[in-house]
Symmetry: D2
Subunit: 418 residues, 4 copies
């Protein structure tokens, strides 16, 4: 049993909630109120929405006599749960000066106080309710990562290039040469084993037929990606999926998101502000289309999620996670007993569409809207990033984004048929 | 060896080319010139583009001294082959009054004359060239179907409801009750066997692991789909994928494409004009989102393409195809030794993303742009429709459209886990 | 009394209707069916809509027992008359393959036959009805000009550069040097005098206070406009109105519509196909923004419509009109007793907003929708063009377009304060 | 000489600058950072941009050794002055969390300190420089009004309906019945007389010919406007300009901006939050299209700006201005020697396009971009509003907005021909 699972639920609750709040310490109220695009949300909204979850799905259901903090919050901080009712328009979240940040923090405190009441008698709680609380904590960790990527995107729109924090540990070591690790084909089991928490989309665990393949020892680096660019990567349609090529042209993409040409050199927007591009760090903020084009150019391909999971389930969940405080991908280490960097640093695009596993059934009611209804038009990413909490990730974890999304810490690892 | 494969290439060529031309017999030059949306093309353009294929990939490559009919046609009638060069903007195809239909037919005749020269010595031709010619014939058959669906869409925009033809054989029989056919799970082979022609995306043939499942005996009917609508199908978000629900609301969908409420009854736009809706015919002109929502509401799901192919490869390729001249789906027959209607009537949406089969490699050069570059954001449909030529379809055939596409003859068949 | 006014109404009717039909003689049915943008209409639609006018406002009102040719035409060919009822969506006029051109011509013949019946007893007709018929004839002349400019725009979208006709008389003479004609200030009368036909927006005739000004002897030429371009006209914001500068950048304007760079030289799309740009011809297909920017750059300004009318009412209505058959602006002649080229060649942008004259009242009913409801956001142009019928124009004639419109034969003439 | 003009420039400067800052006293930093639409700006941006004006056009030009506060502010807070250089995208002003409000206030203090230095020797300053400073103060007053209307618009997007302030003095008296004041026609002079400050667009003073007309004694009230609505105002196209009718349908307009149906009664968003609609207050937040449609329905018309100015120049500049602290229109008083409410309460739409007066020439250089380049596509409004500083308005003052703008305190007064 993992350490996290061993924690009492009340401790777990407090840990996660405090972690969220620690993320806004470097931010002022103004930083927390703005929204740079429909896909992103203001930091303040993340703080409120994650509390709304506990208020709506736990306190209103299970704490006798609980009264909602504010009647309008039910709509204001509902993200996408149609079963709960109307939702404030996503793209207008950045128009809400009120509630002020201080008020949102008071809302959090109100929810925490009542959750404390409830959790004080955790041993008597309905296990189903505990599952909903646990889901809420993992949900909140997802928003922790989004809060960081959304702030980064917001700051990148500002010509002053604000820094979220000072980069405490500039990484200077060199990325090791690319190696390949071979994996035999056969029938394999993937999906969550049932030990510890998992989202519903990670199951049911099931058999898959995997061909023999090999996987790169680390993520593709900035230097390697720059070679692709220098070879005309963004100007040669033959490398691209048709929809990707349309996007390249419609958006004028010429480099990964956040790269800025500065004469001969390249600088890159980071959570520490504008920095020199490090050739050894993993290429990051790539869309699926870019990842796929790079792989094709490199004579390889993206792994399937089954391949990735087969390889990753043999490795310990260790890497450059949010707890490092670096908040930026770092160069890989030399591989030991298998590929490095499978966890942390950058989410790795797979070639697999985000689709239900065989016999997958979403839960009944609002909680059932958590994952299943997004199973079209997106692709799966694996392994977590430098903005993911360590105890949030596992081999079976399936993240998903649209193929043109670039504001996450998303990169790639090559695979090949054997 | 199939009858079609046994045909000499020159006969095959003539058959397909004449079939295309027969499709425009009911049309006037004006009917052939217009374009109702970016996804559709004018009939005239289909006539020209399929000739451009032979001119560009066959005659210019292999017929010594061949001179292009018109230098501008290389751009004008290039659909999406970046390797060949620039392409006239897709959404502007309906702005080309010139070349007139007569000129396009002259272009076809010019190409046919020279192809005839070449095919006269078919036995001496490079087999690779023969493959390119064969590909061109199957390509042309795809455009035959598109020509019909595009004209239908164009006519549907006209309040006069023009008819492409008189419906020669109104179908009046009743659809049989729904039955289920069970299939055991295990390792199965799917993909083209190598016997006869196939598109590159149908291979390589490979093993897949399929769970036990059952498949409906026929496609979902209009009557069944109307039940879904009456039960609030288009107003209850719980049935829908999130992207589908957005589409329903953005587009105001309340019924399949081409349905028109007429007081208490429903009429439907067909290639014979506006007709009464037949409850026994397969529901048609559905998007993937609608097919998926219906299946969820019905307590079932869409089949995977592997499941579909396992079932279909046990059935003869027979059904309501374009040769019937009906050009509209017909009620299913009572099933005999397995599901009916797998071929013809309506393309059946699967739940499978259109993705490369393991070890799939597109061909080098322009021909390689045929299929592979579209392998994102689309879903696979199987089985052909009432607008598909019979000798064009086979168990491994993979058609693909975006999940919101509705102008094809697209319906669904239910599947369930066992 | 003018010659035109002296014509019996039935002769007038026949003249105008035949003139419209003669315009499509060089066109095939396909040419007549397509629409290149929302602002333009298919030639076929112009033919039908002008007949719809007589059917709706004359025959249905005044011919006992008249039955509409086709019940759907009332909606299909209604342009913008809300009082008459619904209108088929403007931007979808190019989706109507039916009625075919032949059918539209039959519709015209049907209307003409019944109009003939009515006009046979013209002397007994209600004068108000005669006014409606006369309005219909001038309305039809406006559509004659639009038919030509719309076909030109449609052909310009075709890389084959089709020609509407062979240019019968290439103009080779040199434009005379620019001179200025001075006009004293004072109280002047403008607006229609009441002699002969006028649109309602030309009245009431009223006094205006005009300052002393001078007017250029001819329209600005291509050579002069090219100087503006060479001096950075399209790259220096200081020349432009703010909305114009936005448009320049949003649309990527770098030259007048229809100019095409061809190495060192410039070619221009005309109704005779792609031709060399003649430096001596008036600059044409300019938006108001371009006309205004040129004038500012040239140290001058656009005239007001009062100024223009004061000058023009002293000149005979003579010039390069549609009857010349040239269908393209021609170089000015040397001025005699005042500015040349005030009539014909190019519509001249004024700086005057299209607004009601003092005490203007639109007519009651549908006819009242003809002009008044468009009196916002547009600017007035004066003098007619090479596509205007000679007997359609007069000093008080007010044409109007949005400031970014470029597909009309629109140019400019400079004015200055004295 | 007016009181304002008599003030020493340094006092004037301090007065205006302090007035701006007092406007944000009720606001938190978050309130000041957000932007609800492209037309509006964050309060913080207004604070910075008005300082940028003095830094760019005064300090950098005239204070030896002055160093810009921050090099990036030149771009960041440039509104639309192409001569000064690049401008940060208008619609992205709401993405700037930095500089924080505190930093912007420090920027203001920095500019004020150096302006103080300069103004200390005001008597020695170049009169042209004094003109630029004076322009800057009137410019800042314009932004004071915009700051209020922009905050109102921002708050209106928030379902919590935040209040900018508590309404200190609810107005309860009844609007007097509508009377008409007649004015003779003839030649009149309009435009600024030259006494005191004026924007360049108010001159040159010039003669105009005005017909006899009458003007309503007060603005149209909410009760009167509600009658128009009850009579089908928003559903009958006959009342509307064509572009207005398109807008009504495209935007779904059914009432003035900020009206909210609440069962049988109507509430309206104000700077004091959501309030009951007062029938006696002037109708407000109307577009030109709505003002024009109301007038047509009422059998009247909008005044021209010449008519308005002729009437208003006979009245003292008194009314409900920003200094009242009401920040909302109030019912008219009974008229005494002419129309009431010409100044203050609501800007009154005229029917006059915003166009240059005869012989108008903008200044050279960046200051010349202040007014002239906006002289297309907009209409003139007169008289100031409840958010206008009293010493900012005068009879010749020309405000201008696009015909669909509704977020200003804009209403209307009827006029009629005599």
């Amino acid at each position: 049993m993992s350490e996290a699972a061993a924690r009492p639920l009340s401790t777990h609750y407090t840990d996660v909630r405090r972690a969220t709040e620690s993320l806004i310490e470097p931010l002022d109220p103004e930083d927390c109120a703005l929204q740079s695009m429909d896909d992103a949300s203001p930091a303040k909204w993340h703080l409120a929405h994650t509390s709304w979850y506990f208020e709506t799905f736990v306190l209103e259901e299970a704490l006798p006599g609980y009264r909602a903090y504010h009647p309008d919050y039910r709509v204001l901080f509902n993200s996408y749960y149609n079963s709960v009712g109307a939702q404030f328009t996503r793209g207008m979240r950045g128009l809400l000066t009120r509630p002020h940040l201080a008020e949102v923090l008071a809302y959090r405190a109100h929810v925490d106080r009542h959750m404390g009441e409830l959790l004080a008698r955790a041993s008597q709680l309905d296990p189903k309710l505990c599952d909903v609380i646990l889901l809420g904590l993992h949900h909140e960790q997802q928003h922790q990562e989004l809060l960081l990527t959304d702030v980064k995107h917001l700051f990148s729109a500002n010509p002053l290039h604000p820094a979220y924090h000072k980069n405490p540990t500039p990484a200077s070591h060199t990325a090791p040469p690319l190696q390949w690790f071979a994996y035999e084909g056969g029938i394999r089991e993937i999906g969550h084993t049932g030990a510890g928490f998992a989202f519903d989309n990670e199951g049911p665990r099931h058999a898959v037929l995997v061909g023999a393949f090999e996987l790169a020892s680390r993520a593709v680096t900035n230097a390697e990606y720059a070679d692709f660019m220098a070879a005309g990567g963004y100007t040669e349609p033959a490398h691209w999926l048709s929809d990707g090529w349309s996007k390249v042209n419609a958006e004028g993409w010429q480099a990964p998101l956040y790269w800025e040409r500065d004469g001969a050199s390249t600088r890159v927007m980071t959570l520490s502000g504008l920095e020199s591009l490090s050739p050894d760090e993993p290429a990051c903020h790539l869309s699926f289309y870019e990842a796929d084009a790079y792989a094709r150019w490199a004579g390889a391909r993206l792994p399937t999620e089954a391949e990735w999971e087969c390889a990753a389930s043999q490795q310990a969940v260790e890497g450059n996670f949010v707890e490092n405080g670096r908040l930026h991908p770092a160069p890989a280490a030399a591989p030991k007993n298998g590929p490095d960097q499978l966890y942390g640093d950058v989410w790795e695009w797979t070639q697999s569409a985000y689709a239900p596993y065989p016999r997958y059934r979403p839960a009944k009611g609002a909680i059932g809207e958590y994952n299943g209804k997004f199973m079209s038009n997106q692709l799966t990413l694996r392994g977590g990033s430098c903005a993911t909490p360590k105890d949030h990730i596992r081999p079976s974890y399936r993240n998903f984004f649209y193929p043109d999304a670039r504001w996450q810490f998303s990169g790639l690892r090559l695979a090949r048929d054997l």
